[in-house]
């Protein structure tokens, strides 16, 4: 349960950040995994290197001795450990955000198809680069990052504390993105999604908006990567394959685009399928590899949801701005409650008219 909830938190941060991009601004980011991986690697290398530098340890980066020594240090210095946790999370936010901002320069000037291709290739490139990059342990990755709450002896308590802090971060990100999309900025984002040229003609700087959104969303995925590293304690380039991007996309599509609550619900659905596959793994007579089955289900789920319920489980809601209130009930996109209220008031007016008609003597 605890492990599920930590994975759920990490993935819901990713889903919320993807929702900011595709749901609200219409940037088809197929390279989510690159920013996730950047965040993870920044956090891991910052954590390990800072410990090694502060204590002037000359251990090799990748080895059993290093892991043991780091664990001892972390258990002895709670304050330093927590500081490293929060500093590396903020650092990975900034670095992943900067990467997200930089990738916009060549790609946002072309259409969504080229953007998708380029960012997808960027994700693959990142993985290949990390596989050959020596300072982060090349193909084997980095190991031995101590748990942020390593000084607590009780292991359940330790993971519970981790889940609570991750949930706190998720709540911050959720409320931030909720505030963002309900602000005038969010409405500008939606206008860009609906019609770029119209937004341009209204004086919105489309490119700058897209770049800023990519900065924020990539930063959030970097935070998710950092949390993953602190949760598992190790990181390797092979964790960040293209399939992870599919997973996040499936979450957003199943839950409902342009609805943050929907993104979280979609995360719950997909992580539940993931857990189910993990349980199936223990059944020896099961004919197929459950992992393969899980991915096939994810693929079919994407297609089926797009075909039969394109708005997802929780569809997008209308924003209740003051302007909307004054315009009144003109559009089809009103909630059922609003519709019921409109029906009641319509019936009431009709009754009054009928009464008037009778009063006037049926003329």
């Amino acid at each position: 349960m605890l492990s599920w909830s930590s994975l759920f938190t990490i993935y819901s941060i990713l889903a919320i950040s993807l929702n900011l991009e595709i749901g609200f601004t219409g940037i088809s980011n197929f390279g989510k995994v690159a920013f996730y991986g950047i965040g993870a690697f920044i956090a891991a290398s910052f954590g390990i290197w800072s410990f090694l530098l502060v204590f002037r340890l000359a251990y090799p980066l990748y080895g059993l001795n290093t892991i043991i020594a780091l664990g001892k240090i972390a258990a002895a210095n709670p304050l330093l450990n927590v500081t490293v946790f929060f500093v590396s999370i903020s650092l990975s936010f900034i670095v992943a955000g900067i990467f997200g901002y930089l990738i916009t320069y060549p790609t946002l000037r072309v259409g969504p198809a080229f953007l998708g291709i380029t960012v997808l290739s960027f994700g693959e490139l990142m993985r290949i680069f990390l596989r050959h990059f020596k300072p982060t342990g090349a193909a084997s990755g980095l190991m031995g990052l101590p748990h942020p709450f390593a000084w607590i002896n009780d292991s359940t308590m330790k993971s519970a504390l981790f889940v609570i802090s991750a949930l706190a971060i998720m709540v911050i990100i959720y409320s931030f993105s909720q505030r963002l999309v309900n602000s005038p900025y969010g409405r500008a984002m939606k206008s860009i999604r609906e019609d770029e040229i119209a937004a341009l003609c209204l004086g919105k700087n489309v490119l700058r908006y897209k770049a800023q959104v990519l900065f924020i969303a990539s930063g959030f995925s970097g935070v998710a990567g950092a949390l993953l590293v602190f949760y598992t304690g190790f990181v390797s380039p092979d964790l960040f394959v293209t399939s992870v991007t599919f997973d996040i996309w499936a979450m957003v599509i199943v839950g409902g685009m342009a609805n943050n609550r929907g993104a979280i619900l979609g995360t719950a659905v997909i992580t539940f399928i993931d857990r189910l596959a993990a349980i199936l793994n223990f059944i020896p007579w099961f004919p197929l590899d459950p992992n393969i089955l899980r991915w096939m289900i994810t693929g079919i789920l994407i297609i089926v949801v797009l075909m039969f319920r394109p708005s997802g489980l929780l569809p997008e809601r209308t924003l209740k701005t003051p302007a909307w209130e004054t315009i009144g009930l003109g559009s089809k996109a009103i909630s059922t409650m609003e519709r019921g209220r409109a029906l009641v008031s319509f019936l009431f007016k009709l009754m009054i008219k009928i009464v008037d008609w009778f009063k006037a003597g049926g003329r």
Partner: protein, 317 residues
């Protein structure tokens, strides 16, 4: 030097076989089809499995591979893309749907291959098709790989066929008409559905031939398509996702960069050979920066500033 040049030719022919159909399908249907990656992998595996079951020569294998994967591509169109298109969904949604079918097909292949491995009791990961061909032949003083000749011959024959088909045959000309303006083409009586089906047959078949060429030269694995994503997309972007000759040229450029340029950089600048994919990615970025495909991918062409400079009107398409 000659060996490197030959290697470049070899790789470029395979990349060309893989990326020309991507350009073709995008030009006609306006969909970035990520399931294309799966078509390549399926091409390799259909060859591997059929050549194990039946004693086949090269030509029969190519025909079977072409047909099977063409059927797969048409099925993908009929079951996934066409229902969505008839509902009037936008480009991004179609891209996501094709991504869904990519992931489904990829893991379906994993399931099929692992069960075939159990049934046939043969190792099916990292293998080449079981076709009896001598690996090298001697031409004059040189010992040349047969697979180089085969993949080049496949590539040249495909390109010639595409040229004749698109320029002379009625269906091919209809295809070009649909690619330029689908609405106008339908007004003149062209059946869009038939054209789309023909496009998917060609796309799936040629991409599968690319996979076959790759598996003959190197090996087949379920990750084959995923390993060449970057290169294939880079080739197609060099072609602007619209021009088949330019895509062919792009395949040559990418192969050149990956074989000869990296060797030069290695000797003169001490760059590690494993940084090969970077060159492809840099080429892709450079092409997008220098020669952005205007309005490409259905987006806003950010070259819109050009027509307003001066009175002379310039079209952005």
């Amino acid at each position: 030097m000659i060996a490197e040049l030959l290697n470049t030719l070899w790789v470029s022919s395979i990349y060309s076989l893989m990326s020309v159909p991507l350009t073709l399908s995008y030009r006609v249907t306006k969909i970035i089809n990520f399931a294309h990656i799966s078509f390549i992998t399926y091409g390799a595996y259909v060859a591997v499995i059929f050549s194990l079951l039946l004693p086949l020569g090269l030509i029969e294998t190519s025909l079977i591979v072409f047909l099977v994967v063409a059927v797969l591509a048409v099925l993908n169109h009929m079951l996934v893309l066409s229902p969505l298109m008839s509902r009037g969904t936008n480009v991004v949604t179609l891209m996501i749907a094709s991504m869904g079918s990519w992931i489904f097909l990829k893991y379906l292949l994993y399931a099929l291959v692992s069960s075939a491995q159990k049934v046939l009791r043969v190792d099916l990961f990292y293998v080449t098709p079981n076709i009896a061909i001598p690996s090298t032949i001697i031409i004059g003083e040189f010992r040349v790989s047969t697979f180089l000749l085969i993949s080049n011959a496949m590539n040249i024959m495909t390109l010639l066929f595409l040229y004749v088909f698109l320029m002379k045959v009625k269906l091919g000309r209809a295809m070009r008409a649909v690619a330029d303006n689908a609405g106008l083409a339908q007004i003149t009586g062209i059946s869009k559905n038939a054209v789309l089906n023909a496009t998917w047959i060609l796309t799936g078949g040629i991409a599968a031939l690319g996979g076959l060429a790759w598996s003959l030269s190197y090996y087949a694995s379920p990750e084959l398509g995923d390993n060449v994503i970057l290169q294939v997309f880079a080739c197609s972007v060099i072609g602007g996702l619209s021009s088949i000759p330019l895509t062919f040229a792009g395949a040559f450029v990418i192969a050149f960069a990956e074989n000869i340029l990296i060797a030069w950089l290695h000797t003169y600048l001490g760059l590690d050979v494993s940084f090969r994919p970077f060159i492809s990615f840099l080429t892709l970025l450079l092409v997008i920066l220098i020669r952005p495909p205007a309005g490409g991918g259905g987006g806003l062409p950010y070259r819109f500033k050009l027509p307003f400079r001066g009175d002379k009107k310039r079209s952005t398409s």
